[in-house]
Every structure is written in structure tokens, then in C-alpha cells.
Amino acid sequence: MLAGRSGRPRVAACLIGAAVLLTACGSGGGGQAAGGGASGEQKITLTLNLFGNMGFKELYAKYEAAHPNIKIVERTSAYNDHHRNLAAHLATGRGAGDVEGVDTGFIARFRQTPQHFTDLNKQGAAALKDRWLPWKWEASLARTGEQIGYGTDVGGLALCYRRDLLEKAGLPTGRDEVSKLWPDWAAYFETGKKYTADKPEGTAFFDGAAQIFNAMIGQAPVGFYDTADNVVVGGNPEVRKAYDQVVAAVAAGESAKLVGSTPEWNTGFAKSQFATIACPAWMLAKIQDQAKEFAGKWDIAAIPGGGGNWGGSYLTVPAQGKHVKEAVELIAWLTAPEQQIEVFKTHGILPSTVATYDKPEVTSLTHPFFNDAPIGKIFTTAARNLRPQYQGPRAGDIQTALRDGINRVEQGKQTPEESWQQILRDVDRIKQ
């Protein structure tokens, strides 16, 4: 009896507890269904996982106004974190956004596993194909024919410079005269020597050798890979030539020895540590953010050697998403020429959609921060002159190995030859 009495309330309590939980869940579910019914249509939330500033924020409201059942949420994280998370979410089959941004450095890796993504070719991509520069379209195309992403921007190259610093070093400051100083990279590094001889105290000619190296490699017809996905770093004379040129410039004291995108590099803008910087279109937004007090002192000249690409992105739709159809519609809209023109006008991010390059509102665009430089003309010309370069699966990792190697020379840890040998060993490991 006693046992029964002490036991029964406990059982009862458990039952009540369970019942409360059940009813709570039940009413929650019911409420949601009722809410959905009241608004007539189910409200769909589309999540965009992006990195950096891709320039879409202003466009969402417009899309939501045209599609009242869609709500757009953008989540932004840092470049490497973003791609790392994306890989993990694809591997585990859950957690990815409805739309995921992918950078050039990673697109070749992701197109190797097209099963993780919605094949846009089956979602009407063929009709849109002519929007993009042909190489941009092919870069996100799997070997088996699936299209995993729509191109957003390209990193058409220019060279940004500080007018006041060049002037103090006794060099010309006008856009055209400056462009004439460096028809090719050899002339650029020669100009660097002149700058270094009369430079203002505490400055250097360029920000860091690894960034200049990236721009140089971006112009080569073949970079780190041949078109059969073989790594050709050791056998490609262009790579070695660019390497030799930048390390020679480091020895001549032309480098501020800063690694791109680090806090020190950001400080370098504010402290005027360098006079020139390789400038893909997306760099304009970074310079404006970091060097606010130097508005009007920056200007944009042509890149030595002409043309070239550095960076650029894609929008993909992971196959695991619940709203694949709506997500595909959204990325088709975001990458349409009309929207891409807006992105270029507000953020200076250069579209990969060819049709935008002829629009007068694009070609006539100037930028007050950069001394009213005609960025529309400069970057559309750069994009047209761009010789496409094939990107292999591990291009991003190889680029990091070269960056670290160049950095070792800048830090004085190794001779250029020692560092080159270590780069080759590192690249061999990445290849496997």
C-alpha cells in the first residue's frame, strides 16, 4: 500500500508532464498551420550564405516586394570560414543555406562533386547561358555537364595608387601618365626603384609581394593548372618568372611586406604604408572602407601587362535545400543584367554579365573617392581584355602555399631559392 501510494503520484506527475509537453507541441503546430492558412499562402524564407560584401543587400527588398510570399535572409561570414562551413554542410547533408556563394578559388573544387548542388541546366540555365562571359560559365560547369552556379562578379584588374605619395616621390600623378609608366611588370618594378629612391618616410611602393604576384599570375594564359587538371607550378615558366620578379622587388625594398586582408594590411591603408596596390574591381570597396580619410587621394591606373583576373564569385543552390525552385529563381534574378548594373553602381563590383558592359550608365560611371576615376570604362575594358585562365580544384591551396613562400622571403627567413624549393614540395603535397 505504502509503496503504491508513494509510487502513484510520481507516475501521475510523469503523465501530466508528458501530457503538457504533448499539448504544447500540438498547439504550436496547430497555431503555425492556422497562421499559414490566414495569409493565404505559405511564407517561404530563403537563406543566402555569402562571404564578404557581395553587394546584394539593397536588392532584397525589391525582390520581396515582387514576391510577397518570399522572405530573404542573408548571412555573411569571413571568406575562409564560409567555404569551410559550406564543405561541412554539404558533406553532412544538412545545414547549408538555400543559396550559397562560392569564390573562384573554390569553385573548381566544388564542381568536382556536382551531386551536392542543384543542376541548373535542368532548371532552365540554357536560356540564360549567353548572359555571362563564356569562361565564367565554364568555370562552374562540372566535367559531367552539370552547371552548379551562376556567375556574379569578375575581378577585372587595374592598379590603384596614391596621388600624393607618387607626387612626393617626384613621379607623375595623372591617370594616363601613370599608366604609361608601367606598360609591363618590369617597368612597374623599375618605377618602384625610382619611388623607393625618393620615397616619403615610412612608405613602400606596393603593399605586399604576394598580392602583386597574384595579379601577375592572373594575367598568364596558364596559371597553376593545365586544362587536364594537372598541377604545373614547377613546370610553368610564367610562375617562376613572376616569382623571381617579385622577390627581386622585395630585395630592392619596394614591398611594405604586408599580407593581404590581415589587420596589419588594413592598418597599412590608414597609415599610408604603400603607394600602389593591385586593384581588382572588388578591391575598391575595401580601399574605401580602410582608407576613409584619403578620399580623393586615391586614383586608378591601368594594370601593367593589361587585362587579367583576380577573384570573382558564383551563386549556387545546394541540392539539400527545401526550396530549390524558389532559390533558383532568386539567383537567376540576382545575376540578371538589370540587377548587376545596380550592384556595380552602388558597390563598384564588376558584373560578369556581358550585356552590362555596353550600357551607358555603366561605361560612364565615375568614382568620387578615386578622384572621379572613370571606373566604368577602366573595368569594362579590363574585363573585355581578360584572357581566361583555367582554374583547377586546389588552386586556392596552391595560391596559399605560394603566398607563404613569398612571405618567407619578405620576412628574411629564407633565400628566394630555398623558399621556392619548399613551395614546390608543398605544392607536391597538395597535388596528392
Partner: protein
Amino acid sequence: MTSLTRPRRAFAHRLDVKVSPYLYIAPFFLLFGAVGLFPLVYTAYVSMTDWNLLDTGRDWVGLANYAELMADPYFWNALFNTVSLWLLSTVPQLLAALFIAHMLNRSLKAKTFFRMGVLLPNVTSIVAVTIIFAQLFGRDFGMVNWLLGVFGAEPIDWAAGTLSSHLAISLIVIWRWTGYNALIYLAAMQAIPGHLYEAATIDGAGQVTQFWRITIPLLRPTIIFTAVVSTIGGLQIMAEPLLFQAGTGNPTGGSDRQFQTVALYLYEQGFARYEFGYASAIAWTLAVVIVIMALVNFTITRRIKSA
């Protein structure tokens, strides 16, 4: 009635006594099984496969990952860095903690304020702390180099050198954990009966003698505990070296891997290269290294009393 219920009650009682304790500790073991044991065993399994996160298949390769690891110069480099960082941070940290605890154990004004104060570095965000320290040790505009300049010394590129980067990173660890260990020592010191010190004072023993002859021997179990815990923590250092090269985005621990720890190498292989099989092999090897080092430490610190 009573004759019937008694055996039932006795049974229920026996059941209660025998089974209940296990039920009470069950949540811990269930949780441990789910978040401790299962990952441990699963990692062991993954470490014997060749599995790239982005590819679908995974092939059984046996101990090949371990064989590769033993021949991998970057692993040995990372192990050297880990041990170096651990020695540079743990030894001064525990000595400083002992000293601070000894000071706090005296009659101070605003005791609680100081005791809580030493714990403050520990509750601050590791990310914020590391970013601030990385700036203090900056090459061009860092405060440490500015101070060196005041004394006429040349600026140092802290992140570039092996020793210099280890010193800078160790300082972050020391700054964060000294107060924590000091509080543990302080608690143990307060458990030492006061009459021991009184008797020693009467016998003419000075402060220093009292510290070495009474305080240290009686702190022995606590010192063993902190040494073992610091070993486990110190050998797993990852966030500090990762954030020390903030912005570069790659967990290589410097241009020449001069401050890449084993945990950071694991992270690089697993989450930058997506080589999960190899990363799992590193994880297990690191676990074995930690157990060995903790045992070594345990044996060394146990000798305190006999010394």
C-alpha cells in the same frame, strides 16, 4: 496484508538501494557515451579510412594514415611547436600562480577584490584577447616594439621568428590562465592549518622556509592536479596560434609553420584540406601524446614530497 507487502517492500527497497545509484549517475555516462566515447571510437574508425569530406566514398586503409603521419615533417614540426609552447607557457604560469596565491593568502585589504581580479583574464573572450595581443606584438605599429624602441632596441617581427612567436603566444596563455591556477592554489593554501605556521614561527623558521617546507609539500595534490590539467590544456592549444595570424585565413601557423601546433595542424588537414581520415589519425596521435605527457608529469610532480 502486512505479511504480503513486507517482501514486496523489501524487494523495492533492495532495488532502490542497488539500482538507484546507477540511475543517478546514468545521465553523466549517457552524455559521456554520446559526446565523449562515441566520437572517440568513431574517430578511431575514420582514422583508418581515406576520406575526403567533399567526396562521397571512403576507403579502408588500415594504419596507412598513421604510417604517413610518422613520416610527415610537418607533424613533427607541429609537435615540436606544441611542446615548446606548452613548456614556455605552463612552467612560468604555475610558478607565477604559486607566487600570486601566496601573496593573496596574506592578510590584505579588499581581499575579495584582488581574488576576483586575478580571475578576470580567464573570463574574457579568447578571441578578443588574442586579437589584442596580436596587435601589441605587431611588427610596424605594435606597442611592444614601440617600447623596445624607447630603449633603443631594434623592432622585432614577432610573428616571423620561431622563438619570438612562441614567446608572444605563450604570453597570451600565461595571461589567461595564471589567475585561474592561482585561485586553485589559494583554496588549497587556506586549507593548511594555521598552527603549522605558528609552530614554525616559534621554531624560528622564516617566511621562505615556511613556504618551501610547509606550503609546497601540503599543496602537492593540488600541484599534481594543476600540472596534469595544464598539460592536457597546453598540448591542445589551437585558438591562440590560429588567431595570432588573423586575417590570413589559413591555419598554417605562420609562413613557415613556425607556430603551428598539432591541434592546428589537425584543423588544417580536416577543415582546410578536408582530409578527415588523416585529421582523425592526428587526433588520435595527439590524444596518445597527451596521455603520455600527463603520466610523465604526474610522476615528476609526485616526487615533490620526497624532495
